[in-house]
């Protein structure tokens, strides 16, 4: 569908007579390596997003009616619309230069200047966990669509622990976070066990468990003892202050979750690269039959892997409820599980790749909020951009065809990972 949107000719053929670093670099610049594919995917998504912005704006479309008579009118209007929208996206994600200037001049506080970055990190934190959950499962050859349900269970158990126990400071937070991990792990354990014992496909079982979890949450929050006293709508009691993730406060919503995310990413990277279990995961992911022959218990690995993946997603849910929401509502987990899926694909299932992909998604989301409030363009634009980026990432051959890239070692994100 996008083949006709952009067909630039290849730019730098750069013949290489002698192999200096520079020549190798320039020669490979336009070959289809991962970095280039990722960049081009983002570019393509942004272009399609721009087209969407223009075609959905009645005022600008009206100018296209007399395009042949005065093309400059339509083009200028389109350009203004698009550039302002994307400028707002960047300002909302990384900070507004004008506010920084005001901060230096003393007319604005540093909090105001850093608020956009804080938003980015706030949105990114839970996505790191759900992304890692999906990525880790992928490495073991499992497609964990259930990150959403596991995150919901993480929210439920962490939230319940947060407003029930009333433990002293620090301890309460640790217990609540662990509770979230356990909740998610339990929800991941079920499909793992079913897969190992009966061969039930994890894609199907986790989809079913996602909706079961969502319905369970919507039932739970209106029960006596859970629902906030004096409220008739579906919202639970608030999490005790001692169980909330510490945050600078004020307009800076960023909380400890992002630091935990860094630590957990490092932990997952270690687990995959250096631990025996990580080796088993990768072996089973590469070829379950060979792994079985080599003496690895494939079933046990599946069960453990899904439990760990579930625990990670549960931690994502816990950061959501302990870091930003502070109370359970039917929509408390938002879409973090499904977004985690995209994040993992964008990060090519590598721990640090997933981490930075989550930062990018957090930035898009934070910027999307600003587009919504300043330019009046729907926040859903961000969802479209995210989905498009991942579609292109997952189909490197498509990007290659669009940009006529030369063949190089291509590692597709989605190809041959999970067998439907």
């Amino acid at each position: 569908m996008t083949a006709e949107t952009n067909t630039e000719a290849p730019k730098k053929p750069a013949p290489a007579d002698q192999e200096s670093f520079l020549s190798v670099f320039t020669r490979n610049l336009w070959a289809s390596n991962n970095v280039l594919i990722t960049t081009l995917s983002i570019v393509l998504a942004v272009i399609i997003g721009a087209v969407l912005i223009v075609v959905s704006d009645a005022d600008v479309l009206a100018k296209f009616v007399y395009f042949t008579a005065r093309p400059s009118d339509a083009l200028n209007a389109s350009w203004t619309l698009i550039s302002e929208a994307y400028a707002d996206l960047l300002k909302g994600a990384f900070g507004d230069p004008a506010v920084f200037q005001a901060w230096f001049d003393g007319t604005a506080t540093w909090q105001e200047a850093f608020a956009p970055l804080s938003e980015t990190l706030t949105y990114a934190a839970p996505l790191v966990f759900t992304g890692l959950s999906v990525a880790l499962a992928f490495r073991g050859g499992l497609f964990n669509i259930g990150a959403q349900g596991q995150a919901v269970l993480g929210c439920v158990v962490a939230g319940a622990a947060g407003f029930t126990f009333g433990l002293p400071i620090v301890l309460n937070l640790v217990v609540a976070l662990l509770a979230g991990v356990i909740g998610g792990a339990l929800w991941g354990f079920i499909p793992g066990l079913l897969k190992a014992r009966t061969g039930a496909h994890e894609v199907i079982t986790t989809i079913m468990l996602n909706y079961t979890a969502a319905l369970f949450l919507s039932w739970l929050v209106i029960q006596k003892g859970v629902q906030a006293p004096g409220r008739t709508d579906a919202i639970s009691k608030s999490v005790a202050e001692s169980a909330q993730l510490p945050s600078p406060g004020g307009i800076l919503r960023v909380h400890l979750g992002i630091l935990i995310a860094v630590l957990v990413t490092a932990g997952v990277a270690w687990l995959l690269k250096r631990s025996a279990f990580g080796f088993e995961i990768r072996a089973v992911g590469a070829n379950p039959h060979a792994a079985q022959t080599a003496g690895i218990s494939v079933g046990r690995t599946y069960v453990l892997l899904m439990a760990v993946a579930g625990g990670l997603a549960g931690l994502g849910g816990a950061t959501q409820v302990l870091g930003t929401a502070y109370a359970l509502t039917p929509a408390v987990a938002g879409n973090i599980g499904f977004d985690g899926l995209l994040v993992a694909l964008l990060g090519r299932n590598r721990p640090w790749g997933t981490f930075f992909a989550a930062l990018l998604f957090g930035a898009l989301r934070a910027g999307g909020n600003r587009i919504q409030s300043y330019a009046g363009i729907s926040l859903e634009l961000v969802t479209v951009l995210q989905a498009l980026i991942v579609i292109f990432i997952a189909a490197p051959a498509l990007v290659k065809a669009i940009f006529r890239l030369r063949a190089a070692r291509v590692t597709g994100a989605g190809t041959s990972l999970a067998k439907g």
């Binding site: 959905s56 009966t198 496909h201 199907i204 079982t205 899926l341 479209v384 997952a394 189909a395 041959s416």
Partner: protein, 422 residues
């Protein structure tokens, strides 16, 4: 060659274990039957449960004392289970199973309805209406999966269909234009799915999930940009008319449900029959099944594997898109963001629960539709049974079915595997 020859080897291979499927099912039925008789019977008030044949409390009704009914039907379920355990009617074990489950549901209903009434026409009609998109979505799945392409993007096709139907239907002020563009909307998503998974060999489940999010995003975006500011020009689609077939529509209960209905009811039911016939009796069906089970063999005898997969996925897009039209052109008068709310996944569940067959999908969709209708009915009579748990039923039933606790569901052998011509 027919279906039977394909399935025979699996039936012959396994020797009958002591705890055969029939024994396990029988035991399960005995247990739930005893549970129903004891628990539902004890809880049910000793008042009449009335099942009226009309849309309200008036008119003729089937009436039974709630307590007696709950115990009676519970015992019936128990008896059906016992018969299965005892090995009676081995050939007809599915009949006994259905009878047992039906008796269990009736026992539950007697408890809930006691001292109240349940309008049968309204319930049946609601069941069929709620099942409609599920039937169409599951059929779309059947088309794709039987030829080896996993379609988890049914939800996305629904959303695109619903959106396109509302948009074009409103702008052209024609419900038929809306219906056609709904089909086109479904085909757009199906085409992306087909190209990426068949041509570019991307994992089909991955593409499907991403496409769901894409459809959610793009319909939500256009909804907020176009429809919300100016609902009058973009989001007031005309509704599909109800047609009444004189004579047939006067049959009690079934008449008003089946013969005084909108076109989609007939389309859905006709498609079930057509796809069943097509798959089992035509050249296209044989080829589709061959491609879904063993693409290499199919290719060797000259069947165009990829071409057939493209065709089937796109046909599935048409069917799912029409299913999406149900949401805007039949159920409600406008499009709203994420209005399908997971119906595509229930359709997927119906497809799997129905064992990848058209009639199985129909049965599963009706069952799930009934569960949903029952959930709304129970919350209307302020039953203590939470509606959320009834809404969980489709998902839990599918979970049990795939886990093989009640008969293993077997997907087509090449389902989800891209075909690379060597």
């Amino acid at each position: 060659m027919s279906t039977a020859t394909v399935q025979e080897p699996t039936e012959v291979a396994a020797p009958e274990p002591f705890w055969s499927r029939q024994c396990r099912l029988g035991l399960a039925l005995v247990l739930i039957g005893a549970l129903a008789a004891a628990v539902f019977g004890a809880l049910a008030p000793s008042e009449d449960a009335r099942f009226t044949l009309s849309e309200d409390a008036e008119g003729a009704a089937l009436s039974i004392n709630g307590q007696v009914g709950a115990v009676l039907f519970g015992l019936l379920a128990l008896a059906a289970g016992g018969a299965m355990l005892a090995g009676l009617a081995r050939r007809r074990s599915n009949v006994l199973l259905s009878l047992g489950i039906l008796a269990f549901v009736l026992s539950f209903l007697c408890w809930q309805v006691a001292g109240n009434f349940m309008p049968l026409v309204d319930t049946t009609e609601g069941t069929l209406q709620l099942a409609l998109p599920l039937i169409l979505g599951a059929l779309a799945g059947v088309l794709g999966e039987r030829s080896g392409v996993v379609n988890v993007a049914i939800e996305g096709q629904f959303l695109m269909g619903a959106f396109a139907g509302a948009l074009v239907g409103t702008m052209a002020t024609s419900v038929w234009a809306g219906l056609i563009s709904a089909a086109v909307g479904g085909v757009i998503i199906a085409a992306i799915l087909a190209v990426l998974s068949i041509r570019y060999l991307v994992d089909q489940t991955v593409v499907g999930m991403v496409l769901n999010l894409f459809a959610l995003g793009i319909t939500g975006f256009l909804y907020e940009r176009l429809m919300q500011p100016d609902a009058q020009t973009y989001n007031t689609p005309p509704q599909m008319p109800e047609w009444r077939i004189p004579g047939l529509a006067d049959i009690p209960v079934i008449g008003p449900v089946l013969f005084e209905a909108n076109l989609l009811v007939w389309v859905a039911l006709a498609l079930v029959v057509a796809i069943h016939f097509g798959l089992s009796r035509t050249r296209w069906g044989l080829r589709t099944r061959a491609v879904g089970e063993h693409p290499t063999a199919a290719d060797t005898v000259g069947i165009r594997v990829r071409g057939l997969r493209y065709l089937n996925v796109l046909l599935g897009g048409v069917v799912a898109g029409i299913g999406g039209a149900y949401f805007t052109l039949v159920a409600t008068g406008s499009f709203t963001k994420n209005m399908t709310a997971g119906a595509g996944f229930i359709a997927l569940a119906a497809l799997i629960f129905g064992r990848y067959t058209p009639f199985g999908a129909l049965g599963a969709a009706l069952f799930f539709g009934f569960a949903q209708k029952l959930a709304t009915y129970l919350s209307a009579i302020e039953s203590p049974v939470p509606s959320q748990f009834l809404n969980m039923l489709p998902y839990l039933a599918t979970l049990i079915a795939v886990a093989g606790l009640v008969g293993r569901v077997r997907a087509p052998a090449a389902d989800g595997q891209p075909y690379i011509k060597s």
